[in-house]
């Protein structure tokens, strides 16, 4: 799965990214979590509120800082979707 934690680099987006990284570790996923900060790219995805989480090109969360539990739930859902 392609996991992208979207953010602008501010504290909130870093917390979001770290939560996703920790969640992926807990679930023993081998996929790398990318911290995606390119403004144009973010606009191209249509995202207007960060932090966000995009997996395999599908938007799973926008505008909120995920905690590890929420990130895990989303990662699990994404895993099912990618099968």
């Amino acid at each position: 799965m392609k996991i992208q934690a979207i953010g602008c680099g501010c504290k909130k987006s870093v917390k979001n990214y770290e939560a996703v990284v920790e969640a992926a570790k807990d679930l023993e996923l081998t996929d790398e979590v990318e911290f995606y900060k390119d403004d144009e790219g973010i606009m191209a995805m249509g995202i207007m509120s960060t932090p966000a989480l995009v997996i395999d090109g599908k938007i799973y969360s926008t505008g909120r800082v995920l905690n590890v539990k929420q990130a895990k739930a989303i990662l699990e859902k994404a895993q099912k979707n990618s099968k």
């Binding site: 909130k12 606009m43 249509g46 509120s49 960060t50 799973y60």
Partner: protein
């Protein structure tokens, strides 16, 4: 229905569509019953429940009384009516009150705002144009959550989606200026009539400001990268469960409280000083409604300042109690919140200097006009 059926997308969507109507219905019912009681019984009776909400629930007058008794109980009534006693009472009461109000309001409002992500707002607004669009833009600005790092993506997203600069700026002006939180806060200080008029004038300012920027062509002065680029892309924001929304609301509440904590302490401190140490005469002379210069000064002082609106409450309360003009205080509060250095810096990245400067000028003048207006006519509402 089984649990699975109850939460199927179709049913959830139906439930969601009903809520706005429920809220509207309740609001209308409240207004109607107030009017009926006023006409049939007496206006005092009709106002009573509203006053109760503003003074006891939002204003927590009972808390003030409680703390007063505590101070008196601990240190005697002489101390209680002395300078230190009054300061302690004010400080403790105001700090607790604002803290509680803040937590409750942010929680409630974040929950509501979770229904209005910017992506959805953009989709809604793209169907409108002209002044109607500006009005809806201003209204949506009050309920769409917005952290300053979102202001650029939002600005760019709106512009590329074809939204006129009028709509975008109406949104940008009303966002920080008017929101449910400020409305309820103002109710706690000034009562319902003034709070409602404040919100309405704030929205009018947003609509007029947006319209001016659009019609004069100022709106075209945006940086090139805003216009050139991919888009518009409409996305469907992910569905949130009730639990997600509660978590979001709770997180917003804590984040905001921590962020704003020191502003509140400083604000309450200043409020206590004004309340107990600064003579009414001074306040009235400098900031009372009579002088022509008090509104402009209040407005201009507020511009470079950034304080959370919750921090300005105790100052506003104290000044108001000491006879400062209503319009002067509101102008100060508006300019502190509507124009903040962080958001202006961010906006500068997307907008050329000419537009940025004119944006500030329009908002400042608008606030001053509102300030003068309230000083002149505010007595009608108190």
């Amino acid at each position: 229905m089984s649990e699975i059926e109850e939460n199927s997308p179709a049913v959830v969507k139906k439930k969601r569509k009903i809520w706005p109507w429920v809220v509207l219905g309740i609001t209308i019912a409240l207004i109607l019953s107030t009017v009926l009681v006023g006409l049939l019984v007496s206006w005092d009776q009709a106002k009573a429940p509203w006053d109760f909400v503003s003074s006891q629930i939002l204003g927590m007058a009972w808390l003030n009384a409680l703390i007063g008794s505590a101070v008196e109980g601990m240190w005697g009534s002489a101390f209680h009516s002395g300078l230190w006693g009054k300061s302690i009472q004010f400080f403790v009461y105001d700090f607790i009150k604002i803290g509680l109000l803040l937590c409750f309001l942010i929680f409630l409002i974040s929950y509501i705002q979770s229904f209005f992500p910017p992506e959805k707002t953009k989709k809604i607004l793209s169907k409108y144009n002209g002044i109607g669009g500006n009005i809806i833009g201003a209204l949506l600005g009050t309920v769409t959550p917005f952290c300053s790092c979102s202001s650029i993506p939002i600005f760019i997203g709106f512009t590329r989606a074809g939204l006129s600069s009028g709509i975008t700026f109406s949104f940008l002006i009303s966002s920080p200026l008017v929101d449910l939180g400020s409305l309820l806060l103002l109710v706690s200080i000034f009562g319902w009539p003034i709070a409602i008029v404040y919100v309405i004038t704030g929205l009018i300012l947003a609509v007029i400001g947006g319209t001016i920027i659009d019609k004069t062509g100022l709106g075209k002065n945006v940086e090139d990268f805003v216009l050139n680029g991919s888009g518009p892309i409409d996305i469907d924001s992910p569905d949130l469960t009730v639990k997600d929304r509660l978590t979001y609301a709770r997180d917003q509440m804590w984040q905001t409280y921590k962020k704003v904590f020191w502003y509140i302490v400083v604000g309450v401190g200043i409020g206590a000083v004004i309340h107990n140490l600064i003579p009414e005469a001074w306040v009235e002379t400098a900031l009372g409604g009579g002088q022509w210069y008090s509104v402009p000064i209040a407005t201009l002082i507020g511009v470079p300042m950034y304080a959370d609106i919750f921090g300005t409450i105790p100052i506003a309360e104290a000044l108001f109690a000491k006879g400062a003009g209503l319009g002067t205080i509101l102008a100060f509060m508006m300019s502190v919140t509507a124009l903040s250095l962080p958001s202006l810096i961010m906006l500068r990245k997307a907008v050329k200097p000419k537009l940025l400067v004119w944006f500030m000028i329009i908002v400042i003048i608008g606030i001053m006009i509102i300030g003068f207006g309230f000083n002149a006519f505010g007595y009608l509402f108190i």
